[in-house]
Amino acid sequence: MLKIINISKYFDQVKAVNNVSINVENSSMIGIIGRSGAGKSTLLRTINRLTDATSGEILFQNQNILDFKKKDKLEWQKNCAMIFQQFNLVPRLDVLTNVMLGKLNEMSTVRASLKLFTSEERHAALNLLNKFGMMQTALQRAETLSGGQQQRVAICRAMMQDPKLILADEPIASLDPLNARLVMESLRKIHDEQNITVICNLHTLDTAKQYCDRIIGMQNGEIVFDDLPSKLTNQKAREIYGAEADEAFEGTMTSVSLESADFKKTA
């Protein structure tokens, strides 16, 4: 279904992503782990075409999406929804409009400019908000919501796009444990119910192990691990995280497992 072949992305001399290949045969929930600066975000941004890859191919249903231009590129982005660490909603617009913006790609310029959403679109957006427990905030401005709420609105916007693939770039890194769990459960639910492939950058190991069917470890822009979560040994994980291992293992700040949060003091 999705085939990433030898993707590289260089920023001047820095190899952010170096010769990465990933093959996704069947719909699955994939977690990408690695320390900060390992190239996780850049990889997702290349898949969504927010950044252009330096070399390589990404095949989705046997089409190289890196060749897409203009309209095709926008349509690919519509099919490949993205969720961000900082939610990336429009703060001054209300929640309902924010969700409906997921439909922009299918709207004509005139209809979009005049904010003429159809009642079906409004219903669809409200249904999604209802599903993720955000219905009561529909008419509030996005900026008045908490981080966890904003992220759920962002998920609604992503679902509004009718995506074939969802990319989540550190979706829970700025959330408290409870909201982090809600967001991860939502993503898992989307995958389970609608069979959409979800690729999720995660900073903490236990989250990745708990929610993903497959874990990809990245280090210095390269893939160093790609297998089932159960195959990921502690030693391998320590190697992937390097100096950030303690943080990633404990995951006190961004972990989804409230009860297992174990505050070890390293004074």
Partner: protein, 284 residues
């Protein structure tokens, strides 16, 4: 771990002191530079002054005192003058409204192409910026006088002049506001497959609209004054009336017009504050 922190604090402290010292030096140099410019400017002014500065100073107050005396002596007639000049004032305000509106529209169009975060092509950005520079580099008075010469005495040359200047001046402020806008919503919409215009419409404009409104309202205030001044060179409105009564030294009428102008500016200020509060609604 703990001792590391203390060392860190010491280094930061040292760097902070170095930074503070550098800032102190810079401030000192700037103050010296300003003092130098000020004193040299005053010297030049003194050298070029034909008469005595002090004699001029006493005359400086004679004129307004005379004006007020005349206005006071004219008694009730003064109020009639206020109404006499009201149509002229309305015509001036009309000029200002019209030219601010059109100036702002042109400014908006120019500013979109002058913002680096919206246009990746450096040449278009530079071209738009230089265009705005040129548009606002000529004072309204100069442009108006050229157009008055070409088109004859009417209000249109003044409007054209103000539109040109407003487009350049507002355009620069607009494009700065756009460049300071948060990139995250723009990227969010880009990842949904929204086109360039859709990103501008839904991610940029909602963010910058409060600033755009207050800049435009401020410009409206400036343009009321500008269109008054342009009246002096024959563009009609209250400026032309003012220029006439000043020439004939009708003190009471001058005061009446001045009164109208001050009231207009003050009410515009209140109006813009009200409008801004209403449209933005988050000045809590």
């Amino acid at each position: 771990m703990y001792s590391d922190n203390i060392l860190g604090f010491e280094t930061i402290e040292k760097n902070l002191k170095a930074m503070a010292f550098k800032r102190l030096i810079y401030s000192f140099i700037s103050i010296l530079a300003i003092l130098f410019l000020l004193s040299s400017g005053l010297t030049i002014a003194e050298e070029n002054n034909a008469g005595s500065f002090q004699r001029g100073l006493s005359k400086f107050f004679d004129y307004p005192v005379d004006l007020f005396k005349e206005a006071f002596e004219s008694g009730w007639r003064w109020y009639a003058y206020v109404f006499k000049y009201l149509p002229d004032l309305i015509s001036t305000i009309n000029m200002a409204f019209f030219s601010t509106l059109f100036g702002a529209i042109f400014a908006l169009l120019l500013s979109l192409f002058a913002s680096k975060n919206l246009i990746k092509n450096q040449y278009i950005v530079t071209l738009s910026r230089r265009t705005m520079d040129i548009l606002r580099s000529f004072p309204e008075l100069v442009i108006a006088m050229i157009f008055l010469y070409l088109m004859g005495k009417s209000e249109l040359p003044a409007v054209i002049a103000i539109v040109i200047h407003t487009a350049g001046a507002l355009g620069k402020l607009f494009s700065e506001a756009i460049e300071n806008a948060d990139n995250k919503p723009i990227e969010g919409l880009q990842s949904c497959g929204a086109s360039w215009w859709q990103r501008v419409r839904f991610a940029v404009i909602p963010q910058v609209v409060p600033l755009f409104i207050s800049y435009t309202l401020l410009r409206l205030e400036i343009n009321v004054r500008a269109s008054t001044i342009l009246g002096f060179v024959g563009a009609g409105g209250i400026g032309e009336a003012l220029s006439a009564v000043i020439q004939f030294r009708y003190g009471d009428e001058i005061i009446a017009i001045m009164f109208l102008l001050v009231i207009t500016i003050i009410s515009l200020d209140y109006f813009s504050r009200f409008l801004r509060g209403r449209l933005i609604g988050d000045n809590k």
